[in-house]
Amino acid sequence: MTGHVTKPGRALRRLLAPLAAHAILIAATAVMLLPLAWMVSTSLKQSGIGLSRGIEWLPWRDAWTNGKETVDVMVLGARVAPGDGGEAVEVGIKSLASRRRFTTVYVPEGAFEAEIEAWRIRPLTGEDETAEARWAPFASVRRRVAPEWGNYREALEKMRFWVCLANTLAITFLGTAGTILSCSLVAYGFARFRFPGNNVLFLVLLSSMMLPSVVTMIPVYLLFRELHWIDTLLPLFAPAWFSVNAFAVFLFRQYYMTLPFDLDDAAQIDGCSALGTYWRVLLPLSRPVMATVGIFCFTHYWLDFMGPLIYLNTSEKFTLALGLYTFKGAYTTQWHYLMAATLAVSLPCIVLFFAGQRFFVRGVVMSGLKA
């Protein structure tokens, strides 16, 4: 009888526990997404405004309106002018052509609602009253959200996005495919065959992960120079076809270890060769770990900076990671372009992660890897 009675406290806990968990998760997600939000926000701002006003989440711009049309303006100054119903505040404005993006004055947030004295706007002089400038009622000028969508077009043009994209896609596709095929085959050997030195060899392979890449940079460069591969895309993906990714071999091996040997025996009884077993039985069962390795490889090749920096010389062969550096100079950084281009470059990675999330998590769990 008592088993059917739910105590009020327990019911409340059941209700609140998931709510609290969700609240915490949502808050944590929001924190994690803040940099992404800032990236989007900065990519839509005017040149030079990105960081100048501190953290502003929306791309503000001053605009004048007469009820029928709205024009982006620069606020030049203010004055108190006599009007029909007494004194009225007027602001000096100047139309902003699309390329003229800077305001003369720094208007603190919310200044349009504040008293005119609180504005840091200089009084207009006679020189300002040119054909381009005019006086307008205070109420006709408002701050409005005006995203600079053109930043994306300009950023992509400047970094030669489509050229870089074609090269990056080629490297990523061939590198990822090579890694999956070669590493899964090597891992098959380590996981399914017993031979003297198996574990030692596997440890040697794993120990190659401990070597920092800068240590091997020059010898590998010399090797590719002898092959006349410098300034081609080959050094960036060809090694992937020779199972150089120890981490991928490890993932595949761990996954194969979870599959029963009975499968191999059954395949052999049916006349399958060792390679046939790998190709027809184990590989089709390895989709989760293939997805995991695929996502790791995709992000690696997509974002690789050092390899293209060293091996590529001509801009026709540049990758997206190198192209992004166009906006990061030695002395200045064009943040609005950099953020717009970065978003365009990161988008495929984000999409891929969400698309393959199911496989990714499953592969990580089944290969015994703790994320």
Partner: protein, 450 residues
Amino acid sequence: MIRRLEKIRRTVSAMGPVLFYGLLAAGFVLAGYQVWRTARAEAPGRAITLDFLWPTYTPQKVRYGEYLAQRYMEEHPDVYVNLILTPDPYRKLQVMIAGRTTPDVVWMGVGWQQFADAFLTLDERVAADPEVRAENYFPRLWESVQWRGNLLALPSSGQVGVIYYNKDLFDEAGLEYPADDWTWDDMQRMARALTRDFDGDGAVDQYGLQLGQVYLVPFLLYDGQIADPEWRSARVDTPVSRALLDRYQALIYEDKVMPTPTTSQELGMLPMFEAGRVAMHAASGYAIESFRKVQFDWDVVRFPAFEFEGQRYQATGLWEEEFSILWDTDAPDAAWDFARWCAGHEMVRWAALNGHIVPGRVEVALSDEYLHSGRRPAHMRSFTDSLAFAVPIYPHPWLKRIGIEFEPVLERYHVGTEGRRSTAAEALAELQPILQKILDEYNSEHNETR
């Protein structure tokens, strides 16, 4: 209906593998084509190929490099200039040297000294070439491309630090614009008058002055280079440097006329000036192009003199831009011709008039067309005048190490760590032995003694 849907589902399921393998095959074909297309060797069909290393710091910089290569090939049909673009010329050249695939000509900018051993000495070629004369270049710039008496590059430009000032804010404050002979006292006075808290909330809304950490090093140079001319004895810790750094720190933390380093970093130094939140701002000629877009009126003035114990001291940072030839080039004559052409009158003039560089050639820098182009800044002469007292930043082959080891000390002085900032005296007392140790080790490695 359900049957029809089920039929469609089955058809799609049946086609799944076909689609998958089809896409996979298409991917291989397209990726393979892209690799093949980009791997095709360029066939210049010219007798000489020059590999030319050039940085991609900005799109404008890329256009400058492309123009140089294209124009030279038009004028020299027998030469193919293979432009090697890179966002990081230092690391790229390191690897290329180690891999023995060195380019023929390089543009390194400041920091070229770390490759001094890899560059061809140009003294003999200059002596034999009547068209290349040291007198054509500003003396400080010509000296800056030498290491221990050997000329290792041809200079094209000298970026110097100057003070940019917002004339509108000076007008508002009723201040006279800074003059060429102004001093640190004048700068401090003006900065105080220009620092404003408009809404009275206790936070500064407009700063009078902004000098970045990058300008701390030029301030160490007011009493001359940080080592003797032969780079054997460090001389960082001098009374002038102490007094100047004391003054600098007071501007931030006592007068509060400069934003703290943290504020500058958060808000961005250039954007703060562009947004009218800073009245005076230290920067090199690289800022011109960006500032030409702002609506308020601005101009430039040279760095102020520092008066100390009855004497005047003056300096600014010099960031040289130059063309060097690698010692193992296969075509030294062609490389020399290309380098001297890049640093010659015509190209320096073109680059200066198109806003790419502050010209290092005297006749271009002092020409009417450059000084009075009608574009801002009106007082362009401040840049060329500053070349008279500009001092190169760490012009030593181990400059990277000097920079790395100086950095934390300057950080402790400038920003502070764990709630405490070093004084100028403490910082300089720390820097002196650090530099001496580096110089001793370098000289010892190169079999030289103090």
